[in-house]
């Protein structure tokens, strides 16, 4: 487990109450380790019965694009994992409309069902959280 995942685990393990956690994804999937690390932390969070939501904005929307093929890169294609989140009761996925538009991406090109929200709605969602962890 990565160091950040361990820190997160120890933080939530001491909480008896349910908090609203939002994971904010702003990085494209393979250029840096952020997207994969973020996804790992999200999966860990599912074990702690917290109120988890995911936000995708800026280059983070590229994480959800269908058709990712990483064989030639010889790295793991972790995009199918987003489809598994539903099985962990993580169903609140918010994608920012402006970020999709700026990249020419349509909602039907995304791997999973999401709620598309504008930046103003995203800001309001962020304001409702108890904990925000960015990747």
């Amino acid at each position: 487990m990565s160091q950040i995942a361990e820190e997160f685990e120890s933080e939530v393990a001491t909480e008896a109450v349910v908090k609203k956690f939002m994971f904010v994804n702003r990085k494209a999937p393979y250029g840096t380790i952020y997207a994969l690390e973020g996804l790992e932390v999200v999966l860990i969070s599912a074990a702690f019965n917290q109120d988890v939501s995911l936000a995708f904005l800026d280059d983070g929307v590229y994480e959800l694009l269908k058709g990712q093929q990483t064989k030639a890169l010889e790295v793991k294609n972790f995009s199918p994992t987003y489809r598994a989140l539903e099985g962990y009761d993580i169903e609140k996925l918010y994608v920012e409309r402006e970020s999709l538009a700026a990249r020419g991406i349509r909602e039907d090109q995304l791997l999973v069902p999401v709620q598309v929200v504008d930046a103003k709605e995203m800001a309001a969602l962020m304001e409702q959280q108890d904990v925000i962890i960015g990747f």
């Binding site: 702003r26 800026d58 800001a123 962020m126 990747f135």
Partner: protein, 99 residues
Amino acid sequence: MLHIVNKSPYEKSSLASCLAHALKGSAVLLIEDAVYAATKGNAAEDAVRRALGELPVYALGPDLEARGMAGAVIDGVKVVDYGGFVDLVAEHRTSQSWL
């Protein structure tokens, strides 16, 4: 909410994205390479000045000093030390780091 930005506005869109999501009642703290955004003549100066009309903007003094920028801070941006950083985190219910 306290929004914390640590990337240069020339290298990343983190500051622009942060400012697009910072609501009234929040504060913005610029640290590490993001302190360049707090200085006069930088490309993000207009955006920072607009933000100052809505919410407080802080910059971390030690990071400004290390970069030779302590004398170039935009009017209205408040410079804080590490103790001030801790106070800001304590004063706000949540913090969000824009990596």
